[in-house]
Amino acid sequence: MFCDEALDSVEAIAAGDLAPDGRVASHLATCPNCALALEGARRLEASLRRRAAPTAPAEFTSRTLARIRRARWRSDQFLDVGFNVAILLVVVSVVAGVWMLLNRTGIVSVSGDAVNVFGSGFVALARRVAPALPLYAGAAALLVSALAIWWWAERDAAL
């Protein structure tokens, strides 16, 4: 039995995982170096077992939950922005696609004339309606107020 062989099992013996068999036990009893190694390993084992476990700070749970909420909010924001950008891109693509289609088929020039016709019609209509605009605005305000009061009364009844 050489020291190398005994030293290989010193940690396992100190941890209680291995009972030294006859050969190892007799070597450890006669070799001062290996006996010292076993003694050191046992002291180390005992010290490691006695090490106090650090405990989490008192506010750990609340801080962790706050951080999770922040992370979730950021993730939601990111999703919102991503969704809005995607929608914008889709709209721009559709508009560009329709415009290119109209341009290639020559409908744009026809539709330009149509827009002019409709445009002049709208201008004439606006001129006729303009004097009565305050009246329409007042009526609309009354209608909105009535709807708001109705909604408020309904909500209170539901509560």
Partner: protein, 181 residues
């Protein structure tokens, strides 16, 4: 009974119950924090990393299939966070370190270890161990983390975990002896 409660807790967390997640954090925070604090030393950094662990748990719960115990899954996340902190890639972590194969020859100063002195030197020596060894020692010497739990968490064979722990302790003993010379 404990397993049933654990499953219920996971289900409640999955359904978005914040109180359930708070209970989960309360149940595991000390173990997670202790493991990390013993590995990274700096207490405020340890808290940051422990919060990272719970953030990952929160994100990962919908994908947790319950094949392993919740605590095992949490140890795995802790191990990944600790090893990433030290620049390791978990998937390629090698627990074989040739340097640690060197034999720790006993020496006369070994006798001089007083328990108190050893404890002081122990922390410094542990800080000099490779991150994977620090993690193994930290996890093994915390209550309730046995060889089997470690093997599951690190996805290593039981024998490998034991061998690596012996090597870690041998290296630690060698560091302590060298320190005394």
């Amino acid at each position: 009974m404990e397993d049933v409660h654990e499953r219920e807790l996971v289900e409640r967390c999955r359904s978005g119950d914040e109180h359930a997640f708070q209970e989960l954090v309360d149940r595991h925070k000390d173990l997670v924090f202790a493991l990390i604090a013993r590995t990274v030393q700096d207490r405020s950094r340890a808290e940051d990393l422990a919060q990272d662990v719970f953030l990952r748990i929160h994100r990962g719960l919908p994908y947790f299939r319950g094949e392993a115990r919740l605590s095992t899954w949490i140890y795995r996340i802790v191990a990944n966070v600790c090893l990433q902190e030290h620049g390791h890639t978990p998937a390629t972590v090698s627990f074989d370190d040739e340097r640690t194969r060197a034999k720790a020859m006993p020496s006369a100063p070994d006798r001089q270890f007083g328990d108190l002195e050893l404890r002081d030197r122990l922390e410094k020596a542990i800080a000099r161990l490779p991150a994977n060894y620090r993690l193994l020692i930290a996890a093994h010497y915390l209550n309730g983390v046995q060889y089997e739990g470690l093997a599951d968490a690190l996805q290593l064979p039981l024998g490998t975990v034991k061998t690596q722990l012996y090597r870690a302790k041998r290296q630690l003993r060698r560091l302590l002896e060298t320190d005394l010379k």
